[in-house]
């Protein structure tokens, strides 16, 4: 068939040649450097307007005037090649991959730059490395992909956004999240749904992403001015390429399991431990085994095991001479580590570009997305919290019951508790039957997203491009929550139904020019423009309690079905206006200078404080381009490309809301409407400002066989917004006024190493590694009448202290357990040993770790002043090592990720696993002190004394653990079927087939005893969060 077609085509062309006097036809074939045919290559006759496109076999045929002496072959991703055709009727052309165009260009704000010309600090994330991993959203895969970028997935909740920190924490209480820019437009990001976790970045299908660039230092980010302090992540989506259509199917199927569970007591151990707790509190035994030997693993009722997940993307791309398109359809279903936690995404993208004429290009990128999320009560201490209750519920009691109509073990008649089972009492605090709660309470969110970006590009003269783009980003969240009235959270209010409808709307209008001009090795590149952004947020909620019947709590609030009704809602707007300009100059690709400036106006500041100017500068030198270097046999051979760079910029961190205004809000007096002052503004407020310094060295050795990049950065952040206390007698809301007052500093080093160790025909091996170390230090807080405040507490466990990094863990230093009586022991701040006599809840100075005397004269207290620094809550070093192997069609990639320098306050262990109530426990409690002389770290058990024995709500070093780890993050094995054979066997219908086997989060080496050292809050606290997931998946890529 194909041959017949070619024959016919040749015939037609032949006829054409007959009639077109003075023309001639050239036939040929285009392949890549491995000999695979390339379809869609544009073949142009240099000096005429004749064009042709290669077909799927790489063949082309072009009729050209006699005068034409050269053909030009151009194809996206390959080096442009001119071929002389004098005296030839056929040519075969091998195009080489153009490293520059794909990986050597950095997407900077409002334009792109050649990587060699970048003098700021920006990291390119190799999207291909995770393109084939099963993932709900791209943010979750960024960990370890770039130096300086710390990414924490702090739980196994599938729809919670990853926490991304670029070069450390830059703000004490404003946002620390980087700006996310997709195709030039800052998009709405965050965890926004009303009733579930959700991730707005998940609306971007990871398979649609062409490249990700992370802008880190001041110079690279300064073009984003007041929004750049936390760094910028530039995401560029795929475009179509001229040529015939390519259809690709990417499909993955996998199984998610909990990577590590807690090691809990079994029923028999629980009975022993519980009765010992009670006996030590002077109580008779209450825990017993039943005749059937019931031994419930409550974690099984909550955590997933081999839950199936899958993801399918069908994409089409191609184009004609004038128009290119990329279109994709996606369905993804992902599962978190808790059974009721899942995410389904349905995503469509169409990227279209059209050259209206040689001056004007128009285009439109649109994303349509729907995400469904479900969740559960995740409260770390909530009675209905999925993890909180799974850890505490009694293992000798069954979750199910044949007598209760619900099928679950619930006490009858109605009381919000479980049956005791064989025990004389139920679980203390009446933790809910989590199996019932997960089966009957519902947390659901249904979100629709439109991101549309329409643009026109005008290129009136050589080197000048004007681009105008208008984008709309709209996210609508329709959330639902219901609590069953029979048991659990909904019991006390006799059921609850809740709906929330939130609408986030933003438009961005950008107009800018790019202009470049070169003469005599002087190259100028200018970007200048204007941007305006306007956002609106509105939401409305309806809550019904005291629901007339369970029938009415299924899917939505139903009119008239609940007797206690509450409504809520609000509306807010915000605007930005910016002018920006950037000038790059280089001389002979040797010397580089960049200067940029952005002037930002922001609606959240007072009219006279609204505008700020944020300048940035950088310079670079490539000595390797100097002739002395090139001519030096040693330097020229070994140090192929060397760049030294330095930058400085001032950027800002925006404030949300309208913090300059004092406001009165609705404040009803009973059922009478009223207003009352609800916020005191500070009209002097401005941005938090970062002064960012960076020096760096980029090395390429032996022609790129080895690469090394080192950056040292220093970031002085001042004008940090801090709520400075006001006298209570002023009576103002919050008893504080926000001021630009505190200062902090981040400094650190980033190292990236790459090596192509083996590069043979059939076997390749390369290694990429990166390392980052960040030191954060609070420089000052605020003063009151000249008295400098040295610290403020942050929650129960953390302290913000001058001279220390943010969020140090602060508490009592444990001194083990008194071997004579099992009392916990501590050191006071002065180093003196004290024991906490649980019997009378009093601290006594102790002469040794076996002192069993309690003279009244030795009584003392442990106070705030006895708390000491127990560790830093935020990891200080992190990175990754990736080994990539290729053997014929096989490739294997192994990524190891590491992080550390931090301590973790394990409150899961403190409050749940070591609970002294009638709860289940972790197996660590089996090491408890039982007899005089016993040396152990676990104090004597006493029922009801958990707060005293474990010092709940306070950090003590017994529960502060090392957070260092090394993780086998990903292993990806793939096989690429031989292209030629494939095409032969399928008659050309199938162009390519790749199959994958992948594992994510396969193993973690750590001393941390919790489920995962990443399960931490920004303060380094692990509070009963969902364990991490391990994913094993298989994938298939087919190109048609």
């Amino acid at each position: 068939m194909r041959k017949l077609f070619t024959l016919l085509a040749a015939l037609v062309l032949l006829l054409g040649q007959v009639f077109a006097q003075g023309n001639r036809t050239i036939n040929g074939k285009v392949t890549d450097d491995k000999g695979n045919p390339l379809a869609g290559v544009t073949v142009t006759a240099v000096g005429s307007d004749k064009r042709a496109i290669s077909d799927e076999a790489g063949s082309f045929s072009i009729t050209v005037p006699e005068k034409v002496k050269q053909l030009r072959f151009s194809y996206v991703g390959f080096v442009l090649q001119d071929v002389v055709i004098t005296g030839k009727t056929s040519v075969s052309v091998k195009l080489t991959t153009d490293e520059t165009s794909l990986s050597e260009v950095v997407v900077v704000g409002y334009g792109v730059q050649q990587k060699k010309a970048v003098t700021g600090s920006a990291s390119k994330v190799d999207v291909k490395k995770f393109a084939n991993l099963m993932t709900p959203s791209v943010d979750k895969q960024l960990a370890g992909r770039a130096p300086g970028v710390q990414v924490t997935n702090s739980s196994g909740i599938v729809n919670a956004p990853a926490r991304i920190r670029i070069r450390g924490y830059n703000s004490l209480n404003q946002a620390n999240d980087p700006l996310i820019v997709v195709d030039g437009i800052p998009i709405i990001a965050g965890n926004l749904a009303a009733t579930t976790n959700s991730n707005a970045i998940g609306d971007i299908n990871p398979a649609d992403i062409e490249s990700i660039d992370v802008l880190k230092d001041g110079s690279a980010t300064a073009i984003y001015g007041s929004r750049a302090a936390a760094g910028v992540i530039m995401i560029t989506t795929k475009k179509g390429a001229k040529g015939s259509a390519k259809v690709t199917y990417d499909g993955y199927i996998g199984w998610n399991s909990v990577a590590k569970r807690w090691d809990l007591l079994n029923a028999q151990e629980f009975v022993t431990i519980s009765n010992e707790k009670l006996a030590n509190a002077g109580q008779a035994p209450r825990a017993f085994m039943d005749a059937a030997g019931t031994n419930t693993d409550w974690q099984k009722t909550v955590l997933v095991d081999n839950a199936m997940v899958h993801n399918h993307t069908l994409s089409f791309q191609g184009g004609t001479n004038k128009t290119t398109y990329y279109m994709s359809l996606n369905y993804s279903q992902q599962q978190g580590s808790i059974m009721s936690n899942w995410n389904k995404a349905y995503r469509v993208r169409v990227n279209l570009e059209h050259e209206a004429n040689k001056y004007i290009k128009i285009g439109n990128n649109i994303t349509l997305s729907r995400q469904e999320d479900t969740d559960q009560n995740t409260g770390s201490n909530s009675l209905g919290g999925a993890i909180a209750s799974a850890l505490r519920l009694l293992p000798n009691v069954s979750p199910y019951s044949s007598t209760h109509p619900s099928g679950f073990n619930i006490r009858q008649p109605a009381a919000n508790a479980m049956e005791n089972g064989p025990n004389l009492q139920g679980v203390d605090d009446n933790y809910f039957n989590v199996a019932f709660v997960l089966a009957n309470n519902k947390y659901y969110s249904d979100k629709y997203r439109i991101i549309n970006n329409a643009f026109v590009e005008v290129s009136p003269v050589k080197g000048l491009k004007y681009r105008s783009q208008f984008s709309v980003d709209m996210l609508n969240d329709y959330s639902f929550q219901s609590w069953d009235p029979r048991h659990g959270d909904g019991y006390s209010g006799n059921g609850l139904v809740y709906n929330a409808n939130q609408n986030f709307f933003r438009y961005v209008f950008q107009n800018y020019i790019n202009y470049n001009k070169s003469f005599n090795n002087h190259n100028f590149y200018l970007t200048a423009g204007h941007e305006i952004q306007n956002s609106k947020t509105k939401w409305v909620t309806a809550t019904g309690q005291n629901v007339s019947d369970m029938f009415f709590i299924k899917e939505n609030v139903i009119s008239g079905s609940a007797s206690t009704q509450t409504i809520g809602g609000s509306y807010s707007k915000a605007g930005f206006e910016s002018f920006f300009a950037r000038l790059n100059y280089d001389f002979a690709s040797k010397y580089f200078l960049q200067a940029s400036v952005r002037r930002d106006g922001q609606s959240s500041l007072a009219p006279d404080k609204r505008y700020g100017t944020f300048p940035g500068f950088s310079a670079g030198w490539r000595p390797s381009e100097e002739s002395f270097w090139k001519n030096n046999p040693f330097l020229g051979k070994w140090f192929t490309d060397v760049k030294i760079k330095a930058s400085y910029a001032t950027v800002g961190n925006t404030l949300g809301g309208l913090p300059y205004l004092s406001t009165f809000g609705a404040a009803a007096y009973g059922n009478v409407n009223g207003i009352a002052v609800n916020a005191i503004g500070n009209p002097a407020l401005q941005w938090e400002t970062s002064k960012k310094y960076d020096v760096g060295l980029d090395l390429s050795l032996r022609g790129g066989k080895y690469t090394l990049a080192i950056d040292y950065f220093l970031n002085d952040v001042d004008n940090l917004v801090f709520a400075v206390p006001t006298p209570l007698s002023a009576g103002i809301p919050g008893n504080s006024i926000q001021q630009n007052i505190a200062t902090l500093q981040n400094k650190g080093i980033e190292i990236t190493v790459g090596a192509n160790l083996i590069n043979q025909k059939d076997f390749t091996w390369s290694v990429d590694a990166n390392f980052t170390k960040v030191r954060n230090e609070i420089k000052s807080l605020y003063d009151i009448n000249g008295a400098q405040t040295q610290f403020v507490t942050s929650g129960n466990y953390n302290l913000i202290k001058v001279g220390e990094p943010m969020n140090i863990i602060y508490g009592y230093q444990s001194a083990g357990v008194n071997s004579a009586n099992g009392n916990p022991m501590y050191y006071k701040a002065d180093g003196r040993l004290v024991q906490h006599n649980i019997a009378n809840n009093t601290f006594y100075y102790a002469t040794g770790k076996d002192d069993n005397t309690f003279p009244a004269a030795n009584a003392t207290t442990m106070t705030f002043n006895d708390r000491v620094k127990l560790g830093e809550g935020i990891p200080t070093w992190f990175g990754a090592i990736t080994n990539s192997f290729g053997y014929k069609g096989f490739s294997l990639e192994i990524m190891l990720r590491y992080s550390g320098g931090n301590k973790i306050m394990n409150t899961t262990r403190q409050e749940a696993l070591m609970s002294q109530s009638f709860h289940n426990n972790g197996r660590e409690i089996l090491n408890r002190w039982t007899a005089p002389g016993q040396i152990t770290e676990v104090p004597r058990l006493v029922w009801g004394q958990g707060n005293n024995i474990n010092q709940n709500n306070l950090a003590i070093s017994r529960f502060v653990e090392d957070g260092d780890y090394l993780r086998l993050q990903n292993v990806v094995l793939s096989y690429n079927f031989d292209r030629n054979k494939l095409q032969r066997f399928t008659n050309g219908y199938i162009q390519s087939v790749r199959v994958f086997a992948q594992g994510q989060n396969l193993h973690t080496w750590t001393k941390y005893s919790g489920t995962d050292p990443d399960n931490i809050s920004t303060g380094g606290v692990d509070a009963s969060v969902a364990p991490q997931i391990r994913t094993i998946s298989f994938g298939l890529n087919v190109g048609f």
């Binding site: 001056y359 915000a574 309208l658 809000g665 006298p727 007698s729 009576g731």
Partner: protein
Amino acid sequence: MKLRNNLVILLCGALLASAGCKRALDQQPNATFSDANAFRTLNEIQLGVNGAFGRYSAYANHMYVSALLSDEAKLGASNSGQGALTYRFQYGADGTTGGDVTGAYYGWYSLIDQVNRVLAQIDKVAINPGEEPRREVLRGQLLGLRALGHFHLLEMYADRYDPAKTGVPLILTSCATCQPARNTMGQVMAQIDLDLSTAKSLMPAATAANFTDTVLNALNITGYQARIALYKRDYQSAINFATTVINSNIRPLATGTNFRNIWTDANKNQEVLFRRLYTTSTIGGLWTTTGGDIYIAPSDKLVASYAAGDIRLQAYIGNTGGNNYVNKFYTSGLGGRINDIKAMRIAEMYLIRAEAYAKLGTPDLVNGAADLNTLRAARISGYTPVTYATAADLIAAVLDERFKELAFEGFRWFDLKRNNLPVQRLASDANAAWQSLPANSFRWILPIPRDEIIANPNTTQNPGY
């Protein structure tokens, strides 16, 4: 070149199109009033006054502290630490130990701040002809609330009344960053008296027709003047003010079901002179949660004090599963122990007058006993009037009656403080370590919150903390 010119035009056009930029930056809040435009009409002043009445919610803390610190309460069967440090007289200035006793400090000042902010605007709003009287009533209510805020602060954070002693900062204008020193009790009291008398002068005389107990008016302001006169030991004034309120007969003593209904809000026109209206948040939850957990229970001493046939025993004390609970604010038609705070009742006027008669330079034991008998007759079935031989007897009887009548309404501890008496709890109510608080303890003056001390170098802490 021509094209380049065209481009410049195009670019300018685009910039013009985005000339909405100025407007983009000029965002006003939509869910809240900005300070600048909160008050333009008298209706908005009314809203601000309503907001100020809302902040009388601080009185809930007044009730809670009085119960925890006195002999009218004990820790309930389900108490797991709620109020325990306070009950054991172990409170401090810190939020971790003194949250119960320091909370009202901010609470009353936030009421005062709201009042001062609205007062600052009240003369600036445009009003329609004929609205002046309404504006003056609103001004009077604001002044009255400010006086009450300062008065309750004195009760808590200053010594027994002595004009020369340290009071609290007197705040008459809103200022977020000021660092006010503490005024003397006399200075604060002078302003309280002025605010109350000015308030009353702006209001129409109370009648049965115009009386509303959810806001301040000429009648309940007179009632507060009586309470305050007793507080500062001006007994003749206390008698005069109380007499005015009693003789108005607008809210006479209630009996029977009407009396019991006061505590469930089932019948709102009984006895109450001033109430802080609640329709959503719980007040009864101070003592017993909606779920039935008894955190704070009536003391055995209180329960035993009621004679058989005393309607208050049923109305005030409930029992479930052998545990007594506070029946005031317990039952609510709105559910969730949502109940109005009864900040002033007519019964208190009889008790004020009885005590004042007994404390006059020349005690009037006949009239004093008569007031006590009137009240008791309304409460106890088959009550026989009694007479008193000495002023001390009458005073003791009045205080005992206040203990019984006003339990859990925010009086007991302040009555003991006012009369220089110790707290004495029964052994069945409290451990030995916290059975009594001697009259000379420093703890009668509650600590100024640590946050005030930190943020205000000009203030001073009370002794002992």
